[in-house]
């Protein structure tokens, strides 16, 4: 799996992401500066990591979404290439039009950093094949604006087309507002693009890949991606 991590000024989880990609796929990702206009040839997966691109000023992800490298990311996605956006990366993907909707401030209006439970809604996508449908995984969140909002029509389509891949849930997979950490509509934690090749999610699977640090529940996502590319190859 050849991956490329896009780096914008103010991004700060790029090292966490690169470390995880290397750990699980065995290959060091390319780090791509926002001012670049092209991705390395043969890039399989583009990752937009977490952080505070441009300080999260104006709106989270808004300024980064208009960087030169995003044109290359859009072209990659248009060719059917896979794109993963985590946290600020999800916000950037929404702002760049690659995913619908927006991420508003958390319901409690506070930054929140803690482990949450995610229910994996289906396992037949490259981003979830490392899990079973209905499986519950524990991964951390760390964000102030992760409250996913979209108009009714869009939400209906997302649900109807099975494009909600991850939802905030209880340890047993139950959906209850109490587990919905930021107030997202339908407890949405991660969504897929129409074509199924772009995933945006708020939680940080890349921070839970090491048992000695807390949990390995985040591994499945990356292992699934690596497996996907092995099959394709």
């Amino acid at each position: 799996m050849k991956s490329a991590v896009a780096v914008f000024p103010g991004i700060n989880r790029e090292r966490d992401m690169a470390r995880t990609l290397k750990l699980i796929s065995g290959t060091e990702p390319a780090m791509i500066w926002h001012a670049e206009t092209a991705l390395p040839a043969g890039t399989d997966l583009v990752v937009i990591p977490g952080g505070f691109s441009y300080g999260d000023y104006l709106r989270c992800g808004a300024i980064a979404a208009r960087s030169p490298i995003m044109d290359a990311v859009r072209a990659h996605a248009a060719r059917g290439g896979l794109v993963l956006g985590v946290c600020n990366g999800f916000q950037i993907l929404c702002e760049s039009g690659l995913l619908p909707g927006v991420l508003m401030r958390n319901k409690a209006l506070k930054f929140i950093c803690k482990d949450v439970y995610l229910r994996v809604e289906r396992s037949d996508t490259p981003f979830t094949r490392g899990y079973n449908a209905g499986q519950v995984v524990r991964v951390p969140v760390a964000h102030g604006e992760g409250n996913y909002v979209a108009d009714e029509e869009t939400v209906k389509r997302l649900e109807g087309e099975g494009r909600v891949l991850y939802r905030y849930a209880g340890p047993d997979g139950s959906l209850d507002p109490a587990w919905n950490i930021n107030g997202a509509v339908n407890s949405i934690a991660g969504i897929l693009s129409e074509r199924g090749n772009v995933l945006g999610m708020m939680p940080h699977p890349e921070n839970h890949v090491d048992a000695s640090i807390g949990s390995t529940d985040g591994r499945g996502l990356f292992a699934g991606l690596a497996d996907h590319f092995k099959r394709v190859a």
Partner: protein, 79 residues
């Protein structure tokens, strides 16, 4: 030239910040507050004296960056 772009949430879009402020004002005992919605203003200094050109530039700024037109409206005033 001084200009102001005001960006507000479209009606129907949930505004958790506004809601929280509304609640806080009520609990502070500020009388008569029925609802609050929060938006942004951008005070922009534009070079040159051509008002029409300035307006065009501001519209471009708003469309391209300042507002997320999926959820927000904007208004431009050249002062």
């Amino acid at each position: 030239m001084k200009a102001r772009v005001t960006v507000t949430l479209k009606s129907g879009i949930l505004d958790p910040q506004g809601k929280a402020i509304e609640g806080a004002l009520k609990s502070l005992g500020v009388a008569g507050v029925a609802s609050v919605r929060q938006g942004k203003v951008f005070d922009i200094e534009i070079e040159g004296a051509d008002k029409l050109r300035a307006e065009a530039a501001l519209k471009e700024a708003a469309e391209k960056l300042l507002a997320n037109t999926v959820i927000e409206n904007y208004r431009i005033e050249v002062l």
